[in-house]
Amino acid sequence: MTTPTTTAPERTVSLREVGPARRGTRPDEVVIALSPAFAGHFTKTIVDVPHAEVLRQLMAGIEEQGVTARLVRVLDTADLAAISHTAARLSGSGISVGVLSRGTTMIHQKDLPRLSNLELFPQSPLLDAPVFRMIGSNAAQYAKAESPQPVPTRNDQMARPRWQAKAALLHLKEFDCIEAGRGPVEVEAVFGPGTAG
């Protein structure tokens, strides 16, 4: 009997820089933009979802729709809207998904004002692997000019008081990893043990 995921050895991911990020020309790509400390200084979100899993599920959601994912790390800011919008303008389809180390996620489009978005998932403690899969899937459907139903956003009144302090600390750490003046770089995900195929 092969073992299902739940008991599989934890997957890891490391990001390998391959050069400055270019503007894509393929209309069938979604750019996933990662914050400065994602899968670097940090390896898990605020509720301990491994970054490897976040990335795998986002990419799987995109791949299942027949769209390709390209990874970019934004180094000069820790602001999610700025990260996502930068990536949207690099994306061949104009669609991007931005992720912060603590898990906060956003789907953005290049023609939108920077502080707007297509879908925003602001409560990082409520985001788990299935939600990341749906986010990836929706982003890919936008890239295909389909009309996906927005991912149902959960809401927890207690999330703010309970997690705010930790979120603030994580944000400060993320802020420390900013490399001012460096443009976005293209990265490749190298998944660790537990991965097959």
């Binding site: 791949e63 299942e64 729709q65 009309s147 097959a196």
Partner: protein, 631 residues
Amino acid sequence: MGAREGAPPEGLLVVGVDIGNSTTEACLAVVAPDGSITYLGTDLTRTTGVKGTPDNTEGALKAIRGALARAGRSAGQVETVLLNEATPVISGLAMETITETIITESTMIGHNPTTPGGEGLGVGTTRSIGELGEQQPGEPVVCVVPHGWDFDDVAAALNAAVAAGVDVVAAILAGDDAVLVTNRLTRPIPVVDEVAAVEKVPLGMLAAVEVAAPGRTIRTLSNSYGLATVFDLDPVQTRQVSPVARALTGNRSAVVVRTPTGDVTDRRIPVGELVLHGAGKTLRVDVDAGAEAIMEVVGRAQPLDDARGEPGTHVGGMLAQVRDTMADVMDVAGQPDVPVSDIAIRDVLAVDTFVPAEVRGGLAGEVALENAVALAAMVRTSRSRMQLVADLVSEGLGAAAEIGGVEGEMAVGGALTTPGVDRPIAVLDLGGGSTDAALLTREGECTAVHVAGAGELVTKLIDSELALGDREVAEGVKWFPLGKVESFFHLRHEDGTVEFVDQPLPPHVFARVVVLTPDGPAPVPTRYGLDHVRRVRREAKRRVFVVNALRALRQVAPGGNLRALEFVVLLGGSALDFEIPDMIADALAPHGIVCGTGNVLGTEGPRNAVASGLVRAHAALLAEEARCRSS
């Protein structure tokens, strides 16, 4: 009716007021003693309260004051206020599903996931992915993957099994992983995913999995003889599986499992008989025979005295529901309740429709379009209390108020002010609850009929056929043209033209099918494409308004012959619709009829016909001439 005597020399200031189901309209005019009319102004406002109740007074006064203000006159100068005799009909709606698809023993999966994997046909024995390791090489296997398996692990397990010589020919997955798994396989196979109740798939049975290429539909499993070939069936068994094949038609992917007694049935729900009394006959018709058969029988029982449903059946329940609603509307405080049994249904419109419903026994939340019949019924009431409204208006304005005439006849009078029409003239008043027709012959005779079914029924059909579950959205789909927002700076209209906008469109309409309301695009929450929504909208309008227009006109036309009509004028709120007038005109064109939307007084469009008709009738009375004088 008085006001025949003593007209002052400079003419009387008269206001006609039409209280409708949704709007109240007023028309102000000066009527000279010789009967000539000078129109001064019109106004319209929302009807307050239910039509025909004292609550209407407020709206009526508002409309009158509005018209006076526009003409620069004061309330004290008004001589007479004329109110319409409200159409004595109320209408109600009911809908009932008449078919039901049931899958027994989990024999079939036909839910059309958006992203199946691979393509082709795989036939083998169903085995759980956990048992693949123990599988003997050689025998073809359809792998069933339960919840909780990661796509990488599934692909690894399948690749390992294939490497060990197991002949894996297809897979059925619980999650949305089909493309991910097939992308990682060394040997491509068809994969069907998103099967929510995958644990119910019987194991150890012969099964066939088929996935078609993108943009195509399956060919083998949707063909009875294809199924017979795959499962080696004899003619008797082939007959049994034909509903399965039919249920899978049009899908991109499907699974059929052969079990000893499994079956898909397309059951007709016994809905009961509709009993129609009319024209001295009592006719019975099975509701599940469909709208066409029902309407044919309704046509033979004209004029209808009453319609009843067999007690204890669905149709009995439907008509009881309609009667109950109407009894509530007619109930008036201070008067004894209307006994439900006394309410006679005077017209019925049946419309075939379909309702997307989840298939009973389905494994993946399959949705089948079940047939349904919608019934609109109409009841005559004697309890119009317009006189009370007239008294209240008179009190509020300090002028005499009287009931000026029957709505249908007044509407014809108003319609005659449309440029370019002449007698014989027929009007079609396309309202919310009922469609009314009236005919004025060359000799001045006027006949009017009311038939059940109008705007409300269209909204209901759109709501249920698109599974919107929101009346407001359905109303929007009915009223406004559609578009698809393709980027933040352009949208494509339903006729294919592209419009660019200067200001970026709001994010919540991005990539959505929208209705183009005057306040900007509003999203339609549906997974159907623009073309489908458009087709549903137009079909709903055709089945209600075109059918009813022909039905009502046949009833007023001399000898039921549409060719005897010359001018047909469309009035009422639904005549303002952007496509209904064209659809009706198209349907009437073969009969040599001039048909178009009315333009009352040459300025008011299809509005204000009854109000200005009231003024005309009053003027005619004043001049002591024939009521239906040619102008």
